[in-house]
């Protein structure tokens, strides 16, 4: 069993190396089959490990360098349920998008598959490592693979521009993380997460600790796309190939949040824990701003992939709220929410990809009614929209309910309302676009809509429009949606997750496990949380999203007075927020530096 741990990272990397050596004369299907088999076996490895880790968490020391006297010489992988759940999700999404790309690209060699497998290995290493510097190495490996995958459609200017913005901003984020690591290493002389945690615990909170923490948080905020570090995301999502978008939206961003939780709970809890109340306020605030801004940007989009990009920003904000509550129940809720929501958004991207494959466009107005020939994809797309709104039994409602309840208990009663409003605002444009594209609802194409994306910027990823949609494409989309749905049907999901979350948030237990090989006590399962209220809220949110979508489609029919008041009250907010997203990478860098300064100022003022 233990030997599966290194294999979960080594197998995808070796498979990538072997695939690169495969002769170009191989038929295309050879590359496809090999890559799918490799990613699939990694998924099996991760699920076996996940099942094992819920019974007994494990550690694996590379090179046989076991820690001596609490000092780690070598590198360690830590198998605990939360990390493995994310690793399994990553493997599942990579497998799904490789299956999907089977018919998606008309021409492709082996290079795409090679990078996808490297990307997978990096994500799994990132999830499982218990070493601070390895975390950075896999962060970089993931990013380098992601840059090239994002720019895969080189023939298109927007694609390279998006990939370039992505690379520039994320490299600055990586620089921040590395600087943070250097500061922490300078103080503690250690790189093992658990060892650093023990070394920092009880130390005074000084400039070095605060600066290191700010740099690390800001660097991972870039990756997670938290406002104002998020600007790269919509440009990249709009231009990246669809199978890659699935990975970005489903797992890549939330791994940034995972890294923040890992960083805080293994290393900084001992030194910053006394100021948790202030820290909680800052994180919840940052999450709320991100959620609202992302939601505001969703509404005016007509480019469907860009719309889904902004919905990712918005939902990342909600996950950050859950994470920033610093409590096991909220963390369990966040994990459920980000996994099920990631699957839903992944599925929506796959549906958008089917549109591209079929119609060569993902422009909501340009495709008005053109999707009538693929109603099944339309149904999946609408279901995805309802999943975003948190309609039961999609797992999304479970996560949202847990976060909301816990937030109210900790003195943030408004969080539930905010999350419902934000899910409605992100789901409604998806439903609107779906109803218009697949059924031709709403006024015709002459209808004048203020929008972000003018016309068809997107080059098709396939050379010409296809007459038919290969079943594998919508089957993949349905599978992602199905898993998210099934997750919500597991009756005691939160109950099972809370002990795992408690383990994740227990610095002492983590250090005992890693440095001393002590297996943590099996925590008793807490009594089941009633989710009825959350389910009712979910139904209400879904209905509200449908109403909002209808308003979006037929708002010309509303009385002029109501229309005017909507325009007057919301117009400036939309316009102002839109103007910030200029596409100029220099603007993005400027906002990033301001973000670091503001974050630093806030933390220095409250913690120092």
């Amino acid at each position: 069993m233990r030997v599966l741990l290194p294999l979960s990272v080594a197998v995808p990397l070796v498979a990538a190396a072997l695939l690169l050596a495969a002769p170009q004369s191989w038929v295309r299907r050879g590359f496809d089959a090999f890559a799918v088999a490799a990613a699939g076996s990694v998924m099996v490895i991760c699920s076996v490990l996940l099942a094992g880790s819920t019974r007994e968490p494990m550690v694996y020391w590379f090179g046989g360098w076991l820690p001596e006297g609490g000092v780690a010489l070598g590198l360690v992988l830590v198998a605990e349920p939360i990390a493995l759940a994310l690793a399994t999700l990553a493997a599942f999404l990579v497998t799904a998008s490789l299956v999907y790309s089977w018919h998606f690209f008309d021409t492709t060699g082996n290079l795409f598959h090679v990078l996808m497998l490297v990307f997978l290995g990096a994500m799994i290493g990132f999830c499982l490592t218990g070493d601070f510097f390895s975390l950075f190495v896999f962060f970089e490996l993931m990013s380098v693979a992601a840059f090239s995958l994002a720019g895969y459609k080189v023939e298109e200017e927007g694609s390279l521009q998006g990939a370039l913005n992505f690379a520039v901003i994320n490299s600055i984020g990586a620089f921040l993380v590395l600087s943070g690591i250097a500061l922490v290493y300078g103080r503690t002389g250690a790189l093992n997460l658990a060892q650093i945690g023990e070394s920092l615990a009880g130390a005074p909170v000084d400039g070095l600790v605060i600066t290191a923490f700010v740099f690390l948080i800001a660097g991972y905020f870039v990756k997670a796309a938290v406002v104002p570090f998020h600007f790269w995301l919509p440009d990249t999502y709009a231009a990246a190939p669809t199978p890659v978008c699935v990975l970005f939206a489903g797992i890549f961003n939330v791994l940034g949040l995972y890294a923040i939780a890992r960083t805080y709970w293994t290393m900084f809890d001992g030194v910053l824990g006394a100021e948790l109340v202030n820290l909680r306020t800052i994180m919840v605030g940052a999450g709320a701003v991100t959620a609202i801004l992302g939601a505001l940007m969703c509404w005016p989009q007509r480019h469907i992939k860009r719309l889904l990009g902004f919905s990712t920003v918005s939902h990342v904000g909600m996950f950050l709220i859950g994470l920033g509550l610093f409590s096991p129940v909220a963390f369990a809720g966040t994990i459920v929410y980000l996994m099920t929501d990631g699957l839903v958004r992944g599925s929506l991207f796959l549906c958008a990809g089917i549109l591209l494959h079929r119609l060569r466009s993902v422009d909501e107005l340009g495709c008005d009614g053109l999707g009538r020939s693929i109603p099944f994809t339309g149904i999946l797309f609408l279901l995805g929209g309802l999943g975003l709104a948190g309609l039961p039994p999609f797992g999304t409602f479970v996560g949202r309910a847990l976060i909301g309840e816990e937030a109210a208990r900790l003195g943030f009663p408004w969080v539930t309302y905010l999350m419902v409003a934000v899910s409605v605002l992100t789901a409604a444009p998806v439903l609107r676009a779906g109803a218009r594209v697949f059924w031709g609802f709403g006024p015709g194409a002459d209808y004048n809509h203020r929008s972000e994306a003018e016309g068809d910027e997107e080059e098709p990823e396939t050379t010409e429009a296809h007459e038919t949609t290969p079943p594998l494409m919508w089957v993949t989309a349905a599978a992602l949606l199905g898993v998210s749905l099934v997750a919500g049907l597991v009756p005691d999901l939160p109950v099972r997750l809370v002990p795992a979350a408690e383990l994740f948030l227990d610095r002492g237990a983590y250090a005992d496990l890693v440095l001393r090989g002590v297996t943590p006590h099996k925590l008793p399962l807490p009594p089941g949380a009633p989710l009825l209220e959350g389910a009712v809220t979910g139904v209400i949110a879904a209905l509200a999203a449908v109403v909002a979508a209808a308003i979006g489609l037929w708002h010309a029919k509303l009385p002029a007075s109501i229309r005017d008041s909507i325009t007057r009250s919301l117009g400036p907010a939309f316009g102002g927020v839109r103007a910030l997203h200029s596409g100029h990478v220099g603007d993005y860098v400027a906002w990033l530096t301001v973000g670091v300064a503001v974050l630093g100022g806030l933390l220095a003022a409250t913690l120092g």
Binding site: L13, L75, L183, A590
Partner: protein, 257 residues
């Protein structure tokens, strides 16, 4: 955002960033007062445990060998990424119409290589390869190793181009060969990891005989990993070189030919 407001915003942010950074740096130990437990422990035990006199190599290829595997794959991914991003440009150049080509041609054509460069380049190829191999092979003894030695080896490929012609470079490093080197180098490192598993030990355990400290044939898998890394690095850099040259030279070659 206008240029001025962007600049002001940036410098405002940088001011905050700079103050924060200085505040953080102030907390570091004073110069010369090193207290890092990791470094002190390794200095005591590493030579005895790994038989490598270059402690950097002992750390990167043994204690933290898994990190370095990740780093090697960063280079691997970057090289594959370059190949991906430059692939269509090549088709594009091949189909570009003649007129657009003429205008590009001026900026792309290089002056004729002088005889001095050719002779000196030719003379340097042998020593460069030898030096590269030396740096690679002595990585566990003295500063150097697979990463730096691999780059030196790739310089030899550049010298071939300088001395002869692009065609000659393609002959000594065809794309399939450089890709194979990439693959063998990266996969070889991972294979050393599996060696540990086969011996019933942990992944990347140094299971080969460690030899006598200070000898060329010592330090077990560290030497082997250095060789694998050098193949990967040399192959990767040659591939990048060839990809970029192809971009530039395709047009020129067609004009002359």
């Amino acid at each position: 955002m206008s240029f001025n407001s962007r600049r002001n915003l940036f410098f405002l942010g940088m001011l905050g960033f700079g103050v924060l950074y200085l505040w953080g740096l102030k907390g570091l130990p004073d110069f010369g007062r090193y207290e890092g437990v990791y470094g002190i422990t390794l200095n005591k035990v590493a030579v005895a445990q790994t038989h490598a006199t270059n402690l950097v190599a002992a750390v990167t290829f043994d204690y933290r060998g898994f990190d370095t595997l990740g780093e090697e794959f960063i280079l691997f991914a970057a090289v594959v990424g370059v190949a991906i991003l430059l692939r269509a440009q090549r088709d594009e150049a091949a189909t570009a119409d003649e007129e657009a080509e003429e205008s590009k041609d001026e900026s792309r054509s290089a002056p004729h290589t002088s005889d001095a460069v050719r002779v000196l380049g030719l003379a340097l190829i042998g020593p460069t390869v030898l030096f590269g191999l030396y740096v690679v092979a002595h990585g566990h003894l003295t500063p150097g190793g697979g990463f730096s030695g691999g780059v030196v080896l790739a310089t030899a490929a550049l010298l071939v181009y300088l001395t002869g012609e692009y065609v000659a470079l393609r002959r000594v490093s065809p794309e399939s060969l450089t890709e194979l080197a990439e693959s063998v180098g990266a996969g070889g490192y991972a294979a050393v990891g599996f060696l540990g598993l086969l011996a019933g030990q942990a992944f990347l355990t140094n299971v080969l005989p460690l030899g006598t400290t200070g000898q060329l044939n010592s330090s077990g898998t560290i030497l082997l990993i250095n060789l694998a890394v050098s193949v990967e690095v040399a192959g990767g850099f040659s591939l990048i070189l060839a990809e970029f040259l192809e971009q530039t030279l395709l047009v020129r070659e067609r004009k002359h030919g």
